[in-house]
Each structure stands twice: as structure tokens, then as C-alpha cells.
């Protein structure tokens, strides 16, 4: 029994969640402000990973980050290889989980009493400070719920990862890819064990999060 895919997946999902949180929380906060056309458009774009087929998403992401793609070429000149490495798996997980985090966090920020934020502004706080000292502390439950969902989504990503990171055992083969491989080669015992582990991890995270956050 090869356990590398499990450790890789845990690491990839943690990093992907971190990446999603770093980018997603500010985006969610910005989206939660008063409606505007620009915000509507961005909100729709942010949701696309939920509705596009993962392999399609993965293919275009690969076109972008491969060594012949526009982003990949720049990275390569800097000596960074992204496609077909574990970093690409992190990116894949982050993109897949991004809408889940943003949706949850946005709902959280929207439920924050605007008068409290405005009060902080009248007290001379800058926007950055309002965010850290008022909005985020009041919306943290929703942000945490979104992050838990994001972790589970990143942990379970298959389609995007398969395209951009490949299915390379010992390097980029995450848990879902390993399960697929075992099923493909008729190794059902291994596939079942890994599938159970995968379900266990997801349930633990969601139940753990449910202890202090109510999923809506």
C-alpha cells in the first residue's frame, strides 16, 4: 500500500486552501459591498469554476501555464516550473475551491452590520483596518465554513489536477488520482481503502468545522 498520495493530497489541499483564503477573502469582502455592474460581472466570473467541466478548466489552465503558454513562459524564464509539478496541483485545488470560499465568505461579510463598519470609518480607520478589526472578526464563522468546504473541494479535486499536474505516481499523483489509477488497474482493495480514507478526511473536516460553524 502506497501512502504518498495521501500525504501529497493533505499538503496540496492545505496550500490550496491557504492560497484560496489569501486571494478569496479580500475578493469576498469587496464583492459584499454595495452592488455595482463591475462587481456583478466579477461575481459571475468567480463562480465559473463551479459550473465549467473540470477537464475543460484544466485544459485551458494548462494552455496558460505550460512552458509554451503565456504565463508558463514568464515563469520558466524565472526558473519556475509550474505545469506537471505539485505546485500545479495546488493551483488546481485552489481554483476549484475558490468559488466555495468566496460564496460563503461573501454571505458572511454581507451579514455584518454596515453601521459598525461605518462607525469604525468615522473613528478614522482606514479600509484595511476596518476589514481586520470589524468585518473579518464579525464574519469569521462564515469564512471558516467556506475554508472548510474549500479544503474538502481541493482535497478531492480530480479533473483540473489530472490535466495540469498529470497523473505521475510519486510526484503529482494525489489521492483522487491514485484511486482512479487503482480502479483502472483492477486493484479494488487499494482503491476501496483510499476511498474510505478520503471520505474520512472530508467528514472529519466538515464535522470539525460544524462544531463551531453552522453550514448554510
Amino acid at each position: 500500500m502506497e501512502w504518498f498520495p495521501l500525504w501529497l493530497s493533505v499538503r496540496v489541499a492545505l496550500l490550496a486552501t491557504g492560497l484560496t483564503m489569501t486571494v478569496g477573502i479580500p475578493v469576498a469582502w469587496w464583492l459584499a459591498r454595495r452592488r455595482s455592474t463591475v462587481r456583478q460581472i466579477v461575481a459571475v466570473i468567480v463562480m465559473t469554476p463551479l459550473v465549467l467541466p473540470p477537464t475543460v478548466l484544466g485544459y485551458y489552465l494548462l494552455v496558460l501555464i505550460s512552458r509554451y503558454g503565456p504565463v508558463g513562459r514568464v515563469l520558466e524564464s524565472l526558473g519556475i516550473e509550474l505545469a506537471f509539478t505539485w505546485r500545479a496541483a495546488v493551483l488546481a485545488g485552489a481554483i476549484g475551491s475558490f468559488p466555495l470560499l468566496v460564496r460563503a465568505a461573501q454571505a458572511g461579510f454581507e451579514s455584518v452590520d454596515r453601521q459598525l463598519e461605518d462607525a469604525a470609518r468615522t473613528l478614522g480607520r482606514y479600509e484595511w483596518s476596518v476589514f481586520w478589526s470589524v468585518s473579518l472578526p464579525l464574519a469569521w464563522r462564515a469564512v471558516a465554513a467556506g475554508s472548510a468546504l474549500a479544503f474538502c473541494r481541493a482535497f478531492g479535486d480530480f479533473g483540473i489536477t489530472l490535466m495540469v499536474a498529470g497523473n505521475i505516481p510519486g510526484r503529482t499523483q494525489t489521492l483522487p488520482l491514485a484511486i482512479y489509477d487503482h480502479v483502472q488497474s483492477n486493484a479494488m482493495r487499494e482503491a476501496n481503502v483510499l476511498a474510505l480514507v478520503s471520505i474520512g478526511v472530508a467528514l472529519t473536516i466538515l464535522l470539525g468545522a460544524a462544531r463551531f460553524v453552522r453550514f448554510r
Binding site: 499538503r11 496550500l15 505545469a83 483502472q184 483492477n186
Partner: protein
Amino acid sequence: MTRNWTIRSRAGRPIVGGLLVLTILAGGAHGQAQSRLTVFAAADLAFAFKGIVPLFERATGASVILSIGSTGVFAQQIAAGAPADVFFAANASFVDDLIARGVVIPATRSLYAQGRIVLATRRDAPFRPTELRQLTDPRVKRIAIANPQHAPYGKAAEQALQASGLWDTLKAKLVYGDNIRHALQFLQTGAAEAGVVALSVANAPEISWTLVDARLHEPLNQVAVVVRRSQHPELGGAFIRFVVGPQGRPIMKRYGFLLPGDF
């Protein structure tokens, strides 16, 4: 003011702290050994290569990373710079396309096998067709083949059904697997009553099969090639020769491949 700070220390810090931990964790996830041979192999080779790879590792001391998947997806990925050393495709056209793009070494292009397709059913099925025309029987509700758009064995299955004049009749019954192993799973799970799949993957205990006349489809010429980016092209070439050599040959034959010299 003070109150704000208290709130921040309760809620803001765990998030900042979490991100820090994540960044630190990032350090561990790397490691690319130089002496490794990464082989991208078409799904029909799944079983045969599980037997051949350990023999090659023992004979050469090299370690092989075997990635099994769809020929079409692998071709896309190699064109995009995937770190494969050798590519075993289930046909020739994807390899020739890669040659045209300049990402593989033309001189290493080798025809390593010819595949066969079979008509397969579950051994315990109440009705087990042994000829393609029996697929029109109403007891056969679903017929599994690999996707003819990008899977060579699916293409061959399509050609065989067309040559038998059955394609239009059976079209509505067909279900497409992503690759040939996937198509076989439809059979194994009982989701499809019959399938036209590769002989090389049909040797499962619960499957019974009958060969489909090879004249009904274009020859399934399978081609391997060494990738230009490879760090050790000689080792890649050695692996291709090993597969068709005295040690690989009997295993390939056991899984129903015809090897160069046999066709």
C-alpha cells in the same frame, strides 16, 4: 479601540497564523530524482506494463514511474511540456502529430505492437453474444466502447461496426468510456451488457470475449517515442527495445498484442 484589538487577537490571528503554517509546510513538497524514467503509457498497456516494468528495473537498475492514461490526453500534455521520458501511444497518429510539433525525437519512433479488439461480455451474463451482429439483440441494451473521438481502440470499434453495417442500428446503444480500461469497467460493473474493447485488457476473470476480425478495422499500430525534453533519452530508447525484446515480448503476447515480426 481596545475592544477592537481584543476581537482581532481572537479571530484575526488564527487565520494569519494558519497561513504562516501553510507557507512553512510548503517546503516539503518537492523532490525530483534524476535517475528516474517516467513512462506515459496508453491504457491498453496497463496490465502488460505492470509485469514488464519490474523486469526492466531489475535488468537496468533504473527506477520507472509509470503513468497510465488516455493516449489523447498524454499527447496534449507532452505537447505542453510534461516531464515524460517515453510515450507509448495506442496508435501512430498522435505520435506523428508530436513529431510534427517537434517535441519528440523522430529517430526513436518505433512500432512496438499491434492491438486487437474483442467482443466482450460478463462471464455470468444470461446472453453472451459472440458475433457483432448479435449485438442487435434486444437483450443487449448497452454496448461499451472507448470514445472514438480520441481513443484509438474506440476508433477501431467504430470502424468494425461500420464495416459490419451495424453502426447506425447500434448507435443508440453505445456508451463511451474515456479510455479502453474505462470502457471495460462499464462491463465489469454490469452497466453495459456487451463491449468492444482491447484484447489486452479483456483478460479479466469475470470477462469472456471473442476476437473481432482484424480486417474490419484499420490495423491498430501502436507507436512509442522518446520525448525531446528527456534527461536520459538512451534509457528511454532502451525501455522501448526491452518491451519488444526477449523479456518483454512474452508478456506483451500474453496480453494479446502482436509484436513486430508477427504481423
